[in-house]
């Protein structure tokens, strides 16, 4: 009888512990598949993330040059920030700017810098397309794809977090590390590209962000369909660092249907886009 009682208690204890243990294991196993990684944001890392992002942004600007146009910059920031309002990173000040190159591309750096090239803007026909491209870059930032690609993880044992540990403070070692991380980040942007799963996530989040902001989620599909017909030097880096347009269009269309974004009132703001682009 006593043995039976012990057995029952052991079973009950196992049952009571199992859900929390399995939930923790599932969370760990699926950390890249989670819907959003905003939970990975640690307060002490934010300032270092911005510092790191500034370095990468300076290198992008050094490569292409800044196309300074107050009206167009204002327009880019209005569209971009109206999307960023719907993200899980309210602590970041998102900044949007135009790069002076005929290459067709857009870039994001940690901490909130988003760049779109003159060549990309020339290929767009409405504001929903621009919103889709900016939202894709915003998603790379909110999901910390560069930071994850560089495998900067928190050290729970010491209580000091990843970026703060590596580049925090003003030591020579921290400066060297910052320069090295910047080099690697630049390689991701211009040469190696993000992981395929990160591009999938950025595309899917982009259309959902567009939908939350009221923009036609099909804008990104239209833009990719147009780029798919462009061949040549202007899309060389974009083609080299991203999955095929066919694949991207397929998974974007699938998320639009699955999430119920194929119905509803969404805007493209074609005239407003044309009016603002003329300001160049």
């Amino acid at each position: 009888m006593k043995r039976m009682g012990t057995l029952i208690i052991a079973v009950l204890i196992t049952v009571s512990i199992a859900p929390s243990a399995s939930a923790a294991a599932e969370r760990e196993a699926n950390w890249r598949q989670r819907v959003s990684t905003a939970d990975d944001v640690v307060a002490s890392d934010i300032s270092e993330e911005i510092k790191f992002g500034r370095e990468v942004a300076a290198r992008i600007l050094g490569r292409y040059g800044y196309l300074e146009n107050p009206q167009l910059t204002k327009y880019l920031n209005l569209v971009g920030r109206s999307i960023a309002m719907h993200t899980s990173r309210p602590e970041l000040e998102f900044r949007f700017a135009l790069l002076d190159t005929a290459e067709v591309n857009a870039y994001a750096t940690p901490g909130g810098y988003v760049f779109v090239t003159r060549g990309a803007l020339e290929k767009m026909t409405d504001e929903a397309e621009l919103a889709g491209v900016l939202a894709h870059e915003i998603a790379h930032i909110t999901e910390k794809h560069v930071v994850k690609e560089l495998n900067i993880r928190s050290s729970e044992a010491t209580g000091v977090t990843g970026l703060a540990l590596l580049i925090g403070g003003g030591s020579e070692a921290a400066k060297v590390t910052l320069n090295q991380l910047t080099d690697k980040a630049v390689d991701i942007l211009f040469k190696d590209g993000y992981k395929r799963e990160d591009e999938v996530q950025a595309d899917k989040h982009a259309v959902m962000l567009c939908s939350l902001a009221g923009y036609d989620p099909q804008g990104l599909v239209r833009y990719f369909e147009r780029l798919n017909t462009v061949k040549g030097k202007s899309t060389e880096i974009l083609d080299k660092t991203h999955p095929s347009y066919e694949a991207r269009i397929a998974w974007i269309k699938s998320v639009i249907t699955e999430e119920g974004m194929d119905a509803g009132s969404y805007a493209a703001h074609k005239e407003r886009f044309a009016r603002n682009r003329e300001l160049r």
Binding site: S16, V41, G62, D183, G214
Partner: protein, 160 residues
């Protein structure tokens, strides 16, 4: 007595497991719509503001199932996190001069760092290459600011 102790431990363990299963979330976006169904097609139940705290009942795809008053609804998982919203972070420009100086020093710094890490000659060459960095334009971008109310007016005009 022994049996009573066992029962107390059992109850504590059971309650602990239920508490850990419940996830507390906070709205991070300026506003978040609570939908009746986990779909953009769904009708809106209500709207909650940044910082709104709720206990999640579960997750369905890209949606968090929440309880509001006596009804269940769904919030897009893109809009929430398990911590309260952090305040807006100011621009990090401290040490800008040091960074610029660091860029000028880059080649030698990289070469020695790469050597210390035992990289190949080719690897050292790659790491030590001089990349241009444009801090002047970056400062121009950082100094850009929208006027008060400009973004809100733009969002309002965008509604259809």
């Amino acid at each position: 007595m022994k049996r009573q102790t066992f029962l107390v431990i059992l109850v504590l363990l059971l309650s602990a497991s239920f508490v850990s299963a419940a996830d507390v979330y906070y709205v991070q976006s300026v506003k978040a719509k609570v939908m009746w169904e986990p779909s953009f097609k769904s009708k809106v139940m209500t709207e909650v503001a940044k910082g709104y705290k709720f206990i999640a009942l579960g997750k369905e795809g890209n949606w968090i199932k929440v309880k509001r008053d006596f009804e269940q609804g769904y919030i897009s998982a893109l809009l929430v996190a398990t911590h309260p919203p952090f305040p807006k972070q100011g621009l990090i420009k401290a040490g800008d001069g040091e960074i610029k100086q660091g860029v000028r020093r880059r080649a030698s710094t990289f070469t020695s760092a790469a050597a210390a890490r035992g990289l190949t000659q080719e690897g050292r060459k790659r790491l030590s290459r001089e990349e241009k960095a444009d801090y002047y334009s970056l400062d121009r971008i950082d100094s850009f600011a929208l006027k008060s109310g400009e973004l809100e007016r733009f969002v309002e005009e965008s509604r259809i």
